[in-house]
């Protein structure tokens, strides 16, 4: 009888669990995951599912009504907003953190600073050897995120001015893969979110500005960007509670712990 009652209580509580789904950017994923875990620790009745797939995938899910929150490392495009509105969805933007896209090379590379112009030349194959931009030598191994990622789209927009990426670029599926490949390839150049920087790679100054929390927040670093969560209309219920939690000092600590820049300074 006792077992039956316990089972009944489990089923009963499951029926009344509040559910929330987040889907989208792999860059935002660590914030969403850590935020969801912390929120569920404080609110055992909440059942939060977090999925990746890329910004485009998350936004498409929001448009289809398949997710409550779309995580995105880029702003929604006008075309996507139109599709959402056609479908009866009213996308509302929430900036939950900031990120800098760090341009990285192998730690042995003598280069310390690079201009946006030279980044564009490298990624469009106008420059293909290190001696054109530094005291180094040898061919440049160009590494990029895959075209489906928000990091790629932001980098393509901010650094390349939407120019066509060289066909020689090695397209990788995650920030971690880019960091790992650059760390293992002496002639490589790549780009990753600030949160993925490790001592195994060297972050270059861009136009003389180092990629740090401060330069990203004050927008002096040229490859900085906001990170977004989109909801259908003004958030309500569990969606609102979760977003309020992420924007609280505790939530923004999670943002910082994940390697990103809080929207507001957390003391």
């Amino acid at each position: 009888m006792k077992k039956f009652l316990i089972l009944g209580m489990v089923v009963f509580s499951g029926l009344f669990a509040q559910k929330l789904t987040l889907q989208g950017s792999t860059t935002v994923l660590p914030i969403a995951q850590a935020g969801a875990e912390a929120y569920m620790d404080n609110n055992p009745n909440a059942d939060i599912t977090v999925r990746g797939g890329g910004s485009g995938t998350g936004i498409a899910a929001l448009i289809d009504g398949a997710t409550d929150i779309a995580d995105a490392s880029r702003a929604m495009k006008t075309k996507e907003i139109k599709q959402a509105r056609e479908n009866g969805i009213n996308p509302v933007e929430h900036i939950i953190a900031r990120d800098g896209i760090a341009v990285i090379v192998h730690p042995d590379n003598p280069l310390a600073n690079i201009s946006i112009e030279d980044i564009k030349k490298i990624y469009t194959s106008e420059i293909s050897r290190w001696d054109k931009v530094s005291t180094g030598s040898g061919p440049i191994v160009v590494i990029s995120r895959d075209a489906a990622s928000g990091t790629f789209e932001t980098f393509n927009h901010l650094a390349l001015n939407n120019a066509k990426l060289t066909d020689a670029a090695l397209m990788l599926a995650s920030n971690l893969e880019v960091a790992r490949t650059v760390a293992q390839t002496p002639g490589a150049i790549g780009y990753i979110g600030l949160g993925y920087l490790t001592d195994n790679v060297k972050a270059l100054k861009v136009d003389g500005v180092v990629c740090t929390e401060e330069t990203v927040r004050d927008e002096t670093y040229p490859l900085g960007r906001p990170l977004f969560m989109y909801t259908n209309g003004a958030p309500k219920g569990l969606t609102k509670d979760f977003l309020d939690f992420l924007m609280s000092s505790e939530g923004q600590d999670i943002v910082r712990d994940a390697g990103f820049v809080p929207v507001e300074t957390v003391e």
Binding site: A66, K77, T78, K79, E80, I81, K82, Q83, A84, R85, E86, N87, G88, I89, N90, A147, N162, A163, K164, D167
Partner: protein
């Protein structure tokens, strides 16, 4: 066959050299037509058919992207099972315009064989098997050759298009008259889930095989679309004028999503090709059920009834079951 191979090679060349994505659909259908008179019964009253297949490709090149669609369809009335029409349906360059594209998002010049933005036509993704009203009544073509200016209204409030065409559709690519057709389209989304749309088509078409005598061909459409949760409603009014003959019609469509995979659909059309002639109109009533087996397979079951105001014409009905594969 030669034409099919040539088009396929063209598509593959674009795919290989321009870093294009390749995708498409094909439709497999079973149709049972209910004969209205015993003498109408023929061996063809029920049949399986591959009505259509699309092979599509699209580049992501900037500022000019390229799109193409090879349209393969069975020749109606053909006695040869391998007799297919193979045509280019779309073959266009989309040139995102500098400066204008920065101010008005996604403003592009479309060059070539392209979609006609008119009424329900550019919105209709075949939730029921029948074509949209204007195409079903053969009053417009879904694609044509020419130039178009297309753009979005900022903040997702809608879209606009102005196009100049040959006016003969994509199945008659050679100019059939001496004047170009002009098509204007404006779709507004003032509130999420609410669409108001107006379209106008103006052309001159030859009478018979000569281009010496041409008559005015006007089409205009007004559309209201509503989407709220699982419910989609659309209503369209269509007006036509061919020389002195005025026609009109309307279409209402409803869809209720019962689950994420299953939806119930209905449509009612009325069209009168000449409003000056009494008892000249007809009605089309469609009921349907869609089941999404997977993200690549949609199953559709439709019942379609045609009735006529003219008492001397018998009504007809048919049942269609269709599988739409996408890849």
């Amino acid at each position: 066959m030669k034409r099919f191979l040539a088009l396929l090679l063209l598509g593959l060349a674009v795919f290989v050299y321009a870093d294009a994505s390749i995708y498409g659909y094909f439709w497999c259908r079973y149709t049972y037509e209910n004969p209205t008179q015993p003498e109408d019964v023929t061996d063809n009253s029920h049949a399986f058919s591959i009505e259509r297949g699309y092979i599509r490709w699209q580049t992501k090149t900037k500022p000019v992207a390229f799109k193409g669609t090879i349209d393969i369809s069975q020749k109606s009335g053909s006695t040869n099972a391998a007799d297919w029409n193979v045509r280019l349906k779309y073959a266009q360059a989309d040139w995102t315009l500098p400066y204008i594209g920065d101010q008005l998002p996604d403003t592009k010049l479309i060059i070539g064989l392209q979609k006609v933005y008119f009424g329900m036509m550019d919105l209709w993704e075949y939730p029921v098997i029948e074509k949209n009203l204007e195409e079903a009544e053969k009053k417009t073509n879904s694609a044509d050759l020419g130039l178009g200016l297309y753009g979005l209204i900022p903040s997702g409030y809608g879209e606009y298009a102005i196009q100049i065409f040959n006016g003969s559709g994509y199945t008659h690519v050679v100019e059939a008259n001496t004047n170009k057709a002009v098509c204007a389209n404006l779709a507004l989304i003032p509130y999420p889930g609410v669409m108001i749309k107006g379209s106008y088509w103006m052309a001159e078409q030859p009478v018979g095989d000569t281009i010496i005598t041409q008559v005015d061909e006007d089409r205009y459409a007004g559309l209201l679309g509503l989407k709220y949760g699982p419910v989609t409603l659309m209503g369209e009014y269509l007006g036509t004028k061919d020389a002195d003959i005025t026609g009109m019609g309307y279409s209402g469509f409803a869809e209720i999503a019962l689950t994420k995979a299953l939806s119930l659909l209905g449509r009612y059309d009325y069209f009168d090709s000449d409003t000056d002639v009494d008892n000249n109109g007809h009605n089309r009533i469609i009921g349907g059920l869609n089941y999404k087996v997977s993200s690549t397979l949609l199953t559709q079951v439709n019942y379609q009834l045609m009735t006529y105001e003219d008492d001397t014409r018998d009504s007809s009905d048919k049942i269609m079951v269709q599988f739409k594969y996408s890849y």
